[in-house]
Symmetry: C2
Subunit: 269 residues, 2 copies
């Protein structure tokens, strides 16, 4: 197992605050850092269906699992910051992570939320790169990580690994292009409705009243995600709540009428 360099994965100095420990899934949380136990033994079966690993042949998957390290990171930990040397590839096993890009004035855009099974920091497979954005843990997370030192020999031996990482990055590229198009051409209401539907699809859970999105997602976050103002988001959510399309609580949104939101997102009459 390769553990070299894993000590600098989590920027402890930048850890803003640790949130309360959630139920997790069988692992007690609350502290960040590498965790004992190997990936193949403990997470092997769970990771078979994860992005990146599901596209690999069994032998390639085993070799990759054997070279990785387990890690858990508390809410608000920064996995990496924009501009940091890209040394580590992350696969989110549980919890959620957001990818944020800021400008010189401190204004931020949420580029994307990551759900369990998704890959972050694919650029770490390349030499001499920097992360183009900042990744912050949204609720306590379990992660599989690989240092570039661990990846490079694997990639040299197994050409399918680089292709699999390329596959993930290319999919993400299509998504970001889609967001760019939305921002450039769609009205704000469409963008906000579309963002909520995307979150519901990616991270939502079926609940009695509809689809539950239980994210620490403030109105300000939703404004950042859709490139608009807090005021506009608040006005839209209040109107949609009054129409019965959704319910907005603290750190949760329940979409009561996905069809109603689709109508808005697609600008249907």
């Amino acid at each position: 197992m390769v553990r070299s360099g894993s000590g600098d994965i989590v920027h402890e100095g930048r850890k803003l605050a640790a949130g309360p420990a959630p139920a997790g899934d069988g692992v007690s949380m609350g502290e960040s850092g590498p965790v004992a136990g190997d990936l193949p033994g403990i997470w092997g079966e769970r990771l078979k269906e994860a992005e990146l690993l599901r596209d690999l042949a069994p032998e390639s998957r085993s070799a990759l699992l054997a070279a990785g390290t387990r890690r858990r990171s508390a809410r608000r930990t920064l996995l990496f910051s924009a501009g940091d040397a890209a040394e580590t590839l992350f696969l989110l096993v549980s919890g959620r992570v957001k990818l944020v890009r800021g400008n010189a004035d401190g204004q931020e855009v949420i580029v994307r939320f990551f759900a369990p099974g998704e890959l972050l920091g694919g650029v770490a497979a390349l030499p001499d790169r920097r992360y183009p954005a900042t990744a912050e843990v949204v609720d306590d997370a379990e992660l599989a990580t690989w240092s570039r030192a661990a990846l490079v020999p694997l990639m040299s031996r197994d050409p399918h690994l680089a292709t699999a990482i390329l596959g993930v990055v290319a999919t993400r590229m299509g998504d970001v292009q889609g967001q760019l198009q939305e921002l450039a051409t769609e009205r704000v209401a469409q963008r906000v409705a579309r963002a909520l539907l995307r979150l519901a699809r990616q991270l939502g859970r079926k609940a009695e009243a509809g689809i539950l999105i239980d994210l620490p997602l403030s109105r300000q976050n939703l404004a950042e995600l859709t490139g608009t103002t807090l005021f506009t988001v608040s006005r839209l959510l209040s109107a949609w709540e009054a129409e019965g399309l959704l319910e907005v609580g603290r750190e949760r949104v329940v979409i009561r009428s996905p069809h109603g939101l689709v109508r808005i997102a697609e600008d249907l009459p």
Copy 2:
């Protein structure tokens, strides 16, 4: 040399119109299609510094060149359309190409312009993908192309090839994230100034009066590139022309004061 499948690279049925043949660089243009002559012999030296090829070891570069096909495409040819099966990787040797994404209403966003030496359609290195956007030739272009059938055996033999393609796609990813952030957080004037500066850096030529961007770039295109309206772009360009920052002609912009545009782009006093 692998030529299989190259006949369906250019969608002749979608070729809107052929522009006049420009001077080119030693090759007479005006008709689209594969061109006789092998890449290593004719373009080998020129392609050494191209994106993708410059990061490869000499043997890998030779193998890649030997597997490619030359092609030329007239202005307004669509190299590929969003949703087409991604079967071909393109390297632009001369001319310019724009990448466009449209929505159901026919509104379009220009995602990016491509300059000589840049790679398009990296997704074609992956099985069963579709192009996420549409690539249109802006002025008569010479291209090196590779079918996926030609790429796959090369990628299996040489793991550095997939890594090199990943490198290009990852760089593009950072660029698109930057555009997303600009669209979400910056005022329109900043965005238009920044787009002009980006085009100047990427495609500009030093001229007596300043930096010449000689693109068939209408005010409408500039509006699409920056997610704003024709009206707003026209108003900004007229104001900047009056201030002496630039000169706008038919299919050309001369930036007389790059510093003046930087001041606007960075929102400096």
